[in-house]
């Protein structure tokens, strides 16, 4: 399921694809048992970094994909044909984050981990 948000809810988006509509594990508001906490701690040590990389790689691919399909939205004349319009409806919620991701000035300290 894709959370369909549009308009000013700028930043959700890519996230929705990525998470498949699952709720954020926003644990700061959630009470968790000791067992869960230990499990989380181990997950954090062992896998969080790897999972993050996997997702980050995914983000780059998403961005590339959007760039190729909707590049002229940014004034890059890739001249995508007819079919990018077909894909447009699905991309709508992602557009803002995508733009932010592409245009955010980053320096290498942003790209390290």
């Amino acid at each position: 399921m894709i959370i369909r948000v549009i308009g000013n809810i700028a930043i959700y988006p890519c996230g929705d694809y990525l998470m498949n509509g699952k709720e954020n594990p926003d644990a700061s508001k959630e009470r968790r048992g000791a067992k869960e906490t230990v499990k989380d701690f181990f997950y954090g040590m062992a896998m969080q970094g790897m999972a993050r990389y996997a997702l980050k790689t995914r983000m780059y691919l998403e961005q590339l994909f959007m760039l190729i399909t909707l590049g002229d939205m940014l004034g890059i004349p890739i001249l995508p044909p007819y079919y990018s319009l077909k894909l447009l409806p699905y991309a709508v919620p992602n557009i803002k984050t995508w733009k932010r991701g592409l245009f955010k000035e980053r320096d290498f300290t942003d790209a390290l981990f």
């Binding site: 790689t57 940014l74 004034g75 890739i78 044909p81 932010r100 245009f103």
Partner: protein
């Protein structure tokens, strides 16, 4: 009989510099274009004949290899130059620009796919071919306009020729939107930057926006020229048959909608009376009869616009001499 009669028309509009020929495929556009150019050359004016056809029509016509070689002197006649553009080069420039830009976008990205494949695909997009043609045409107009007295363009088949010119308008809409998007994108970039001053500088020098603006400006100039009846004339070529006439008619209405001035209609392949009379097979007789019907139709529908009649020749028109003959008939031939 008509105000458009080629010689009169040219004399009345001495400043026309750009001629375009258009019409249904196979009616003799290339030859007509060559004849126009050769006419001016014989008047001592410097003429350039430019082919935007993807096929080597000029090379074939003059028996001289000009494909992709830039502007060439056409041998056997003074004051005449020809150019047969290979838009592949233009497209490869597009490709380079595009790939540079995509790469710079992905500066920090560690991605497991090779983006160059996308770039290749993006530039094989057919739209590139069309914009490249239009680009080339405007380039020739703007760059060489001053060095020649007359430039005659031989465009591709009808519909594409018209679209090519129509493009100046469509393209404009599209370009404007593109420029706007680019500006939006750049301001977003500034907003999201930490080195704001620096990024602002970079943004000001943004090559892509500069390209787009340049393109837009070029486009504007081209449009201005194209819709200026004192500088541009569009000559349609037809033959006395239903389809080509219908096409020219449609074409003229479209061109007028784009504010492009019409510079007359050439009626090509008119069977000369003596040829019909000397022949008693049904072919010539029927054709001649049919032709007179169509000539009437042309009179009725295009009437005043007709600027020349050119006879049907027993053999194909080719070479400087053949075209000179065509040119001569274009000025003097009268089917009546």
């Amino acid at each position: 009989m008509s105000d458009f009669k080629f010689k009169d028309f040219v004399e009345r509009h001495p400043n026309i510099k750009f001629f375009f020929t258009g019409g249904k495929g196979g009616v003799g556009k290339t030859v007509s274009a060559a004849a126009i150019a050769q006419y001016f050359a014989s008047q001592g004016r410097k003429a350039l004949l430019a082919s935007l056809n993807p096929i080597h029509s000029l090379s074939t016509l003059y028996g001289q290899d000009m494909w992709g070689k830039g502007i060439q002197k056409i041998e056997g006649i003074d004051n005449l130059w020809g150019v047969e553009v290979d838009i592949k080069e233009k497209i490869s420039t597009y490709r380079d620009q595009l790939s540079e830009r995509i790469t710079s976008f992905l500066k920090w990205a560690d991605i497991p796919v090779d983006p160059s494949a996308f770039i290749d695909i993006a530039v094989t997009n057919p739209a590139f071919e069309e914009s490249a043609q239009f680009d080339t045409m405007t380039d020739i107009m703007l760059e060489h306009g001053d060095s020649y007295d007359v430039i005659v363009f031989d465009c591709a088949a009808v519909a594409n020729a018209i679209r090519l010119l129509g493009l100046s308008k469509i393209y404009d809409l599209w370009l404007s939107r593109m420029i706007e998007s680019r500006k939006e994108a750049l301001s977003l970039r500034v907003q999201l930057s930490f080195r704001r001053d620096r990024v602002m500088e970079e943004v000001k020098r943004d090559p892509m926006l500069a390209d787009l603006l340049r393109q837009h400006e070029k486009n504007r100039k081209a449009k201005e020229i194209l819709s200026d009846a004192e500088r541009t004339a569009f000559v349609f070529v037809t033959i006395p048959l239903a389809l080509p006439i219908a096409v020219v008619q449609r074409f003229i209405s479209m061109v007028r909608a784009f504010d492009i001035p019409v510079g007359g209609v050439f009626v090509n392949r008119v069977i000369p009376q003596e040829a019909a009379e000397s022949d008693s097979t049904d072919y010539m007789k029927n054709s001649y009869l049919q032709q007179s019907r169509y000539l009437d139709m042309i009179q009725e529908k295009l009437g005043d616009l007709v600027s020349a009649y050119v006879p049907l020749y027993p053999t194909e028109v080719a070479g400087v001499d053949g075209i000179a003959k065509f040119c001569d008939d274009m000025l003097n031939f009268n089917p009546e």
